[in-house]
């Protein structure tokens, strides 16, 4: 059974031309590579901080 109220909430607005510029600039989402880099950097920092 289609529940209209529930279904209508799932619909999201589309990207408009005015908002395109912001969308492009804010598209600097980190991908897995960036995540791995961050993890690797943290590991290295952690290793450097540990006393020998």
């Amino acid at each position: 059974m289609i529940n209209f109220d529930e279904e209508i909430k799932k619909f999201q607005p589309s990207l408009e031309v005015d908002a395109a510029e912001n969308a492009i600039y804010n598209n600097e989402m980190p991908d897995v590579t960036d995540v791995i880099n961050n993890i690797m950097a943290e590991i290295m920092i952690h290793e450097q901080e540990q006393p020998l």
Binding site: I2, F11, P13, S14, L15, E16, A20, I24, D31, T33
Partner: protein
Amino acid sequence: MRCYRCNAPLSDTEDFCTQCGADVTVYRRVAKTSNSYYNKGLAKAQVRDLSGAADCLKTSLRLNKRNINARNLLGLVYCEMGEVVEALAQWAISKNIKPEMNIASVFIKKIQADQNQFDELSQSIQKYNLALHHAQTGNFDLAEIQLKKILTQNVKFVKAEQLLALLYCRKEDYARAKKCLKHTLKVDRSNTLSQRYLAEIETLEYELSKENVDTFLPSRKKKKNNQVDVKPLNGNDVIMPSTTYKEPANGAITVIDILIGVVIGAAIIWFLIMPARLQSKMQEYNENLNEYTVQLSNSNSEIEVLKSQLAQLEAKNKELEDTASNSGVSNANAAVYEALLAAAYNYINADQVAAAEGILALNSEELTGTAETNLYNKIKSDCFAPAATALYEAGEEYYNDKEYTKAIDSLERSYKLNGESVETIYYLAQSYAALKENTKAKTYYQLIVDQYPDSFYVTEASAFIKAN
């Protein structure tokens, strides 16, 4: 493949970057996984599973945001689903990552080439957002109208069509909802939302049809030999005879029917409409004819009036002419009196030559009155001699100046006023002789010989006559 840190090209055999030394083992795996998701997305896009392709491509980009192919393909998928701005955003990001040798530039140029269409598509997206807002705030009719307009502008806008289908479902207009959803499935073959809605609608329709069948229609049991169960007739039943009439399937009959219709229409026009039009035209013509006849008769009567006036005026004119002639004054006499008056005027102004010549031109017999005759004689006697002398002297002077033509003119005028001057005759002859008009010179010399034999000039005259 390039190093994620220094962007240097990576070796195929080494697990570290030869430029900066970064460990690229995990990175290679991530990139390969990203590429495999890209391949899945590509396969789905090729069979028009656009939403499935979009999911795979987004996953590919989450793994490796620098996967240009995945990003370009994602833009293409968005474009096909009617989300043009999303597509442009993806291509812009792709171009930013790799400015050279990137097909995203071509896609962007193609979109921007037709500015009108792009504006239309952007407006459709704006209107979709507005329609969504209306639907979410309860203005369903307005949302429906907006969505219908949007779908005329952006035919492949899947989200808009799905929202419209949802609104139809709310109204229980399942037929239209199905139509919208089937259309979205043509664009996006395996769209989950459309398939789910369609399944729900078909379930609902089945349940509804089952209810209708149970409630309203009597059950019919078909016999094995396919005979329909016949109820016994009662007095109120109406028997409809079965007919063997069939609509002809042949298109030629239709054409013939049309032609017959045209002929009948033409006949109706010819026999019913045309006479009425002709009659009105005739009436108009007759009215015009009457008007022109009236104008003509008016003109004729005016002509008659003018003719009678003319006759009257002519009669009056004749009467006046008769009166004038009886009173002794005619046109000719009027000219004579006028000439006489002119001569008198010249006489008064002491222009004797003009007065004399004016009198000379008059015919004294035309002067009927005594006063006119006296005036004529007076002027003649006072002016002729002096005028003749003056003219002679002028002619002599012209002769001495060798202006023979002028001399002849003056001397002849003098001769007319006084024909008894031998000097005038002599100088005339001399002037003609000077102009080699010997015939005329001889005439005048002969006059001297004949009329003035004792004059001083006779010898010369005779000699000239003998010589010529």
